[in-house]
Amino acid sequence: MSEDLEQFRAETRAWLEANCPQSMRSTFTSEDDIVWGGKNAKFSNPDAKLWLDRMGERGWTAPMWPKQYGGGGLSNAENAVLQSELKRINARPPLYSFGLWMLGPVLLEYANEEQKLEHLPKIVRGEIRWCQGYSEPGAGSDLAGLQTKCEDKGDHWLINGQKVWTSYANYADWCFCLVRTDTSVKHEGISFVLIDMTTPGVETRPIKLISGSSPFCETFFTDVKVPKERMVGRLNGGWEIAKRLLQYERTNISGFGSGARTDVVDIARDNVGLDESGRLEDTDLRARIAEHKMFERAYALSVQRATEEAKAGANVSHMASMFKVAGATLNIERCELMVEAAGSRAFGWSGEGFAPDELAVTRGWLRSKGNSIEGGTTEVNLNVVAKRVLGLRDTQ
């Protein structure tokens, strides 16, 4: 067994050596370096396309998905080897994708064979970029109150309504969407459909955030016709899929972390200064940074522990909400500390007076305020932990 793994490690190392372009062996320098794929994919560097194509071809953008759907077909142990080899050469992730992180896992679980064969390989190769049609103007924390109407018109579904906070809908090729198929019940009247964004009647409008960026859109559906076979799972069975997908999303947002990638300690060293024994001169800030660094380490160790427990067969899915709360809190705290440590260097908005790193701290701080809202607010996730994990309910 371990001999096979050593062989796999040697082959993987050799393949990466030959196929990972040198320029892909470094940390991202800006958001523009991130590859999201799709029909209108943008690459800041031709090597990024090469790297995606090679990894996608091998199925290693989704290393553990089955081979028949384009995945790598790797075992847990093999994937661990692959990840450690990627880390060893500091390889960039070839693809960021809601398809990989959110939709794919639930398609594997709930979709029929035709749907899996149609959609999964394109996700793996980064050919189709997906967006998530969940929240509505009247359905945020109370997501199951969604009203986007989906009517059975015999040979097709007819969809009318509005979604909001649809991440990157203006760049997406397809949307996985929650729609109302029965108005007489709440949770049991929701279905999960896949919508081609080029269908007539689909319109997107970007929302400008306090950070100045527009990662989210409003998405409008007006008499949008969707073929019958694009519903995943059973009619009115969408809520179960939605909840499962949220677990993947929560784990993912919590681990993702928006904001600048600079270390808070480096910012503090540069802007606060050190005393003669090498300590940050602001002792109060220093203590809070130390506490934050411990929180960060504790979080990373806990993710590692949950991963190990999951591999050993424990069901850790209920922990997703806990990690979402902790991860969001951690990132928000990190961004606040960076702004505080940077002093007036964090008060730039644009122009030559501030370095790109400094502007990224400011924008990242503002963007991070969304971390405790998107993918389920901190309050909703604390409800989930209290009810599902601790068993605290209104009546016992």
């Binding site: 300690v265 503090a268 060293r269 050190l274 090498g278 300590r279 940050l280 220093r286 203590a287 940074i289 130390a290 506490e291 660094k293 411990m294 929180f295 380490r297 504790a298 979080y299 160790l301 806990s302 590692q304 522990r305 190990e308 427990e309 050993a312 922990m319 806990m322 709360v325 902790a326 309050e379 604390l382 409800n383 932990v385 209290a386 009810k387 994990v389 601790l390 068993g391 605290l392 309910r393 209104d394 009546t395 016992q396």
Partner: protein, 358 residues
């Protein structure tokens, strides 16, 4: 690194859980307190030694079990759950590891078999003031004689052997040696302690200097953090059960969102801290380079977590939590002592920052 217990460690954990529930429940601690024993329960220590716990770290050649730090950690956690009053931390963790790391063959031969058999209680004499500051020790050592004053030595009132910390090394001093005088302290956590004065007391140096002092302090902090996560877990579980049964306004109070959110935050805090404690024990068994980082991480987080959970233990129980007949107060009192012992959260955050280079 691993967070998974092996079969041996799992068996140890189960045995420790059963023993602490059946032989050393909180009622036993309460009786010890009510009988004004100030931490003394020699029968309990004898039973623990018979279970093999005094010698968990001690290699088989010296009469121990040689099961390592993770093994001892799971037992410390279980003993923390029921507030079992014993010198397990000071003797099996600190005493045994100090001798293993810094003892000569002769010193090991002399003390380890006695430790493993439960026949020698060890106490770690570190602090000289109201706050933990091992680097500022004023201990004087000359010609094999040790002089200085040590404050609030945990288990110092029942110890047979002291491990005395100076700024530049550790020294073994027998409790009945000439020049050693103790003043027993009656303490808020009912565990007792002693102020100990050494006046030209005969002391044998352990090998390893200032580095050994740090290594043993790391082990003390990690062992105590393991005990503390056990206390926090028990306090949390009792509180959580109470939220599910106590009714006010015609419903169980656990249905109120204000309490649900606080409970969920406590749970999250505990899970994160548990990962730190497990990683720290594992780092000791791996003899990892960054043990000191893990020690400060585990102790600071355990202190903050236990502080929060014991305060909520009282608050969420309302009036009953303020009464002596309820156990909440027992956990609260032990918590504050444990939080400060071998360095509180602020001390370990400062140390962590230093280790990380800021």
């Amino acid at each position: 690194m691993t967070f998974t217990l092996n079969e041996e460690q799992n068996l140890l954990k189960d045995a420790a859980r059963d023993f602490c529930r059946e032989q050393a429940p909180v009622t036993r601690f309460r009786k010890m307190r009510d009988d004004k024993k100030n931490g003394r329960d020699p029968e309990l220590w004898a039973e623990m030694a018979a279970m093999g716990w005094a010698g968990i770290l001690v290699p088989e050649e010296f009469g121990g079990a040689g099961l390592g730090y993770v093994g001892l950690g799971v037992v410390l956690e279980q003993s923390g759950r029921t507030l079992a009053a014993s010198p397990l931390l000071s003797t099996a963790m600190i005493g045994a590891s100090a001798l293993l790391l810094g003892g000569t063959d002769a010193q090991k031969q002399e003390w380890l078999p006695k430790i493993a058999a439960g026949e020698c209680i060890v106490a770690f004499a570190v602090d000289e003031n109201a706050h933990h500051a091992p680097g500022k020790s004023g201990l004087k050592v000359a010609g094999g004689k040790v002089s200085g004053v040590k404050k609030y030595v945990a288990d110092g009132h029942i110890a047979d052997l002291f491990i005395v910390a100076g700024a530049d090394g550790l020294y073994l001093v027998k409790a009945d040696a000439a020049g050693v005088s103790k003043r027993e302290l009656i303490t808020v956590d009912s565990r007792g302690a002693a102020d100990v004065t050494f006046e030209n007391a005969p002391g044998e140096a352990l090998t390893g200097g200032a580095e050994l002092v740090q290594k043993v302090l790391d082990r003390a902090a990690i062992g105590l953090a393991a005990e503390m996560i056990g206390q926090a877990q028990e306090a949390f579980e009792i509180t959580s059960e109470y939220l599910k049964t106590r009714k006010q306004f015609g419903q169980v109070i656990g249905g109120f969102q204000a309490l649900q959110h606080r409970a969920a935050k406590m749970f999250t805090d505990m899970e994160l801290t548990r990962s730190c404690v497990m990683a720290a024990l594992d780092a000791l068994d791996r003899d990892a380079k960054d043990v000191s980082e893990y020690a400060s991480l585990a102790k600071a987080r355990a202190a903050d977590t236990l502080h929060l959970v014991t305060n909520e233990f009282v608050q969420m129980h309302g009036g009953i939590g303020m009464t002596d007949v309820h156990d909440a107060g027992l956990y609260l009192k032990r918590a504050r002592v444990a939080e400060a012992l071998y360095g509180g959260a602020a001390y370990h955050r400062d140390r962590y920052a230093k280790l990380l280079g800021f």
